[in-house]
Symmetry: C2
Subunit: 370 residues, 2 copies
């Protein structure tokens, strides 16, 4: 995997690059739609591709439980299994496992129970690498401890030390040359811990780095703070991935602080509950205002949904509980995100990122409907 | 609307024709996928088109309740509302209303209650025409009484007389020149009633005729019998539509008896519950046999699903309850039906329909799996 920095913005830390993988080149900054169970919810790979997606993310935890990485490997790997021939990134499974209520964390890994069979499963750096190597994504992630928020500094210190120790073990266990293994920087909201973790992680020399443990729910100000004091400690010539983020405003602020890659379930999850993104903010299509609204979701949008259907039709579909509502809404929302990323890339190339961001947010916050 | 008989089979009543409508030409015999709420369940219009669909059916009853025919009309009609630019047929709403538990049937029409608001609604020939004219389908249907099965002959006689009286009223009330109104032959399982109803209906001179009240649940033998003694009384130069039928074997037997048009929810409904049609019979993809089956649903099928995905992947999607399972399975099943119709048409053109049917059924009944 090769990362090439094509342009840097004037006045902000925003970067424009390309990331080459065995399954094609990715233009950064990029958003990765999430295909949890090796499937984008309510979209075929063809529809995902048509939204402009260049790389998608799939979840190791879910695939380990169903159908199991061995079956995926036997099917010819994740790309072939799910018929997505572009690049794929898998997470390590850590985020999901550490979110479980009944896990047991040790110095070496984490014990949890299979959600269906009740069988005890142990996940550690070696196992996380083994699973991700079998799945065969282009980019795979270190197994780290995701620190809950809020968290006291003592715990955060010990956890960050563990994450660094596990990072070394992941690097040793990872042997597939056609996959890039990214290191993940933890450290909760403590600037010195983040700095320490970033510097130590960089010493291990990964082909890319992620910032973990910054969840959307913690608010935009905290996100700006953590990204702002972590990203500068990551090498300029390696891609930077902010995990699990986020809303359009989160992405815009993070790009400004030097982030290249994002993933989030928000566009598809919101779509299924009738919340659609537009340049003028979000609209909720189940609102009765839209019953007789014969405009597209976004009048200038060129996604399949906006080229063919009205808000009134989508309002009707959501009311009738038709699966097509989820399909069409997901297509629009994912397209919205990817189109935003395309505009972000152009603004960076033109050296006017800050102005673009401000214009985008000013328009976005008008929210005149729904 | 014009119907042109292109070819007749040798030795059976099977017919090959074209039906021209304001939204394009239909090759018959044809199967019409069902888009109840102005939406194919789990498929975009583009995907429906790619399965080979030439005409779809939508339900007047459902559209009258939600979103209402006036809204559809304001949206520019059903074609534009649902972004399907091919031909559409709407039923009259009668079938659904007569299936309701608390309807009240009179000589003039039927009273029922809105399923959400509880409001009393009256549907009669004039109203059924008014709604269907507002929806704007290419082919619309008479408002008839659907006789329950089984039914005593006295009731069937009175009901058939009513259906004939209503047919006249429909014809008088229908004023849109760009729509073809089909007459529906009822008469339950009584040969003399079917013959009488067919002859009287033909006197009213409709551009096409349907056979109603032959539901799939009543069995193939009864279906063959009723179609067999009804179709001969319909004019050769008009299309014949067997409503709500059916399974592949039902369609094959009915084509042999001179039927040109079919509709049924079976391919999409079965798809959503993991039952897939193949040339060797149906398979149930949730069956554990398919967990490690890396073949397509149908090895020689050229639908999007079979070109890209394995049974193992679909088994996984159904297990994970992913919406994509319904999408991919629906694409295959609808394609299977339309491909079968295409083979039927070819066999008739070649004058070897009986042989084709026997070969098809011999292969289809092998059912070696699932």
């Amino acid at each position: 995997m090769q990362f090439k920095l094509l342009a840097k913005d004037r006045g902000t830390q925003a970067r424009r690059g390309t990331l080459s993988t065995p399954h094609g080149e990715i233009q950064t900054p990029i958003f990765m739609p999430v295909a949890t169970h090796a499937a984008m919810k309510a979209m075929t790979p063809l529809q995902v591709r048509e939204t402009g997606a260049q790389i998608i993310l799939s979840n190791t935890y879910h695939l380990h439980l169903h159908p199991g990485e061995q079956l995926v490997q036997k099917a010819g790997g994740l790309h072939r299994f799910m018929a997505w021939d572009g690049p794929i990134l898998t997470d390590s499974g850590g985020f999901q496992v550490f979110s479980l209520p009944n896990k047991r964390i040790t110095e070496d890994g984490v014990f949890f129970r299979h959600e269906d069979t009740g069988e005890e499963i142990f996940l550690d750096p070696a196992k996380a690498m083994e699973i991700q190597m079998a799945l065969g994504a282009d980019i795979i992630m270190n197994f780290d401890e995701c620190i809950p928020y809020p968290c006291d500094k003592g715990y955060a210190e010990r956890s960050t030390a563990k994450t660094l120790r596990w990072a070394k073990q992941c690097k040793e266990a990872h042997t597939r040359k056609d996959q890039a293994l990214f290191g993940i920087v933890q450290g909760s909201v403590f600037e010195d811990l983040r700095r320490h973790c970033a510097r130590e992680m960089v010493k291990l020399d990964f082909p890319g780095y992620a910032i973990g443990g910054v969840s959307v729910g913690e608010g935009l100000e905290l996100l700006k703070l953590v990204v702002g004091y972590t990203a500068p400690h990551l090498p300029e010539d390696k891609p930077r991935y902010l995990m699990g983020v986020g809303l359009p405003e989160d992405i815009l602020e993070s790009v400004e602080r030097g982030i290249d890659m994002f993933d989030c379930v928000i566009p598809t999850r919101y779509a299924r509950s009738a919340t659609l993104f537009t340049n003028r903010g979000r609209i909720r299509l189940t609102n009765k205002n839209f019953r007789r609204d014969f405009y597209p979701i976004e009048p200038n949008c060129d996604c399949y949904t906006c080229r063919n259907f009205t808000r009134a039709y989508l309002h009707h579909l959501f009311g009738a509980n038709e699966v097509l509502s989820a399909i069409l809404a997901s297509i629009h929302n994912v397209h919205f995100y990817l189109n935003m990323m395309s505009r972000i890339r152009q603004a960076i190339e033109e050296g006017r990122y800050a102005a673009f961001k401000n214009e985008f947010l000013a328009e976005y916050k008008r929210q005149d409907r729904g």
